[in-house]
C-alpha cells in the first residue's frame, strides 16, 4: 500500500523515541527493534483508525504499548530471562562506573511493575504530558499520577539501597542484601 509521504516522515521521526520506549519496556535492544517494526506494520495496517491532525507519536506509542502488553502476558517467563541477563552484564563489567550505574538503574527499573515503569518512561523520558500518557495507557490521568508516585517511591527505595554500598564491592554487598540463607 502506498504510504503518504507526510505519514512516512512522521513515522520515521517517531522511531528514535519509540525505540527508547521499547528498550525501557523490554530491556533489550533487539526485542525493542522487533517491537518497533511490529508497531509500524500494525500502524499502517490500521491507518484508517488514525485521525490526521492528532498526535501521531502518541498513537504509535499506544500501538507499541498495547503490543508489548499482549506479548508480555504471553511471554512473561522470557521477560524475566531478559532481566536476569541484565544482572549478568552488570557483573561482567565492574570497572566501567558509568556503565555500572546505568546498568543498576536499568535493573531497578526492571523491578517495577510494567504499568508503573511505562508511566515513568512516558512522562519522565519520552516527554509526554500526563494527559497524553493516560491516553497511551488507556487509563485516567489520576491513575498515571499515582503510578508515577509509586514508581518514584519504589525506585528511590531501590536506589537508596545502592547508594549505601560505598563501603564495599557491588556484588558482595548485593549478596548481603539479597542473602537468602543467612543461617548457613
Amino acid at each position: 500500500m502506498p504510504i503518504d509521504p507526510t505519514l512516512r516522515e512522521g513515522m520515521l521521526a517517531a522511531v528514535p523515541r519509540l525505540r527508547a520506549f521499547a528498550v525501557s519496556l523490554s530491556g533489550n535492544v533487539d526485542r525493542a527493534d522487533d517491537l518497533v517494526q511490529e508497531t509500524l506494520v500494525r500502524a499502517l495496517t490500521s491507518i484508517d483508525s488514525f485521525r490526521p491532525g492528532t498526535n501521531l507519536a502518541a498513537w504509535l506509542f499506544t500501538i507499541l504499548r498495547n503490543h508489548f502488553r499482549s506479548e508480555y502476558r504471553k511471554r512473561r517467563r522470557e521477560v524475566e530471562d531478559v532481566e536476569g541477563r541484565h544482572t549478568e552484564s552488570l557483573r561482567s563489567q565492574p570497572e566501567q562506573m558509568g556503565h555500572v550505574e546505568m546498568a543498576e538503574f536499568r535493573e531497578a527499573l526492571a523491578k517495577l511493575p510494567p504499568d508503573q515503569r511505562e508511566a515513568l518512561i512516558l512522562v519522565g523520558a519520552s516527554g509526554f504530558s500526563y494527559e497524553e500518557a493516560a491516553e497511551i495507557c488507556g487509563c485516567a490521568v489520576g491513575t498515571i499520577k499515582s503510578r508515577l508516585n509509586r514508581a518514584r517511591n519504589r525506585l528511590t527505595d531501590l536506589m537508596q539501597i545502592e547508594s549505601g554500598e560505598d563501603f564495599g564491592p557491588d556484588a558482595a554487598t548485593r549478596a548481603i542484601l539479597t542473602d537468602r540463607d543467612t543461617g548457613t
Binding site: P2, R19, V36, L40, F105, L155
Partner: protein, 68 residues
C-alpha cells in the same frame, strides 16, 4: 495509598529504622538522579537515530511487499 513494602533482609544489615522513612534530602537527591538516569537512558537510544531497517521496512511496505 502509599504502599510501603517491608524489605525482609535489609533491616538487620543497614542502619535504617524498621519503619523505613526516606530522609527527605536524600530522597530529593535520588529523585533528581532518577530523572537524570531516565533521560540518559532515553537519549542514549534516541541519539542512535533511525536504523536503516526501519527506512527499508517502510520502503518495502510502500511498494506493497509486506513487512515480515
Amino acid at each position: 495509598m502509599k504502599r510501603r513494602k517491608r524489605m525482609p533482609t535489609r533491616s538487620a544489615k543497614l542502619p535504617e529504622p524498621p519503619s523505613f522513612e526516606p530522609p527527605k534530602t536524600l530522597g530529593r537527591d535520588i529523585q533528581a538522579k532518577i530523572g537524570d538516569q531516565l533521560r540518559a537512558m532515553h537519549d542514549d537510544i534516541v541519539k542512535q537515530g533511525v536504523p536503516d531497517r526501519f527506512v527499508e521496512l517502510l520502503s518495502r511496505l510502500d511498494k506493497g511487499e509486506g513487512g515480515e
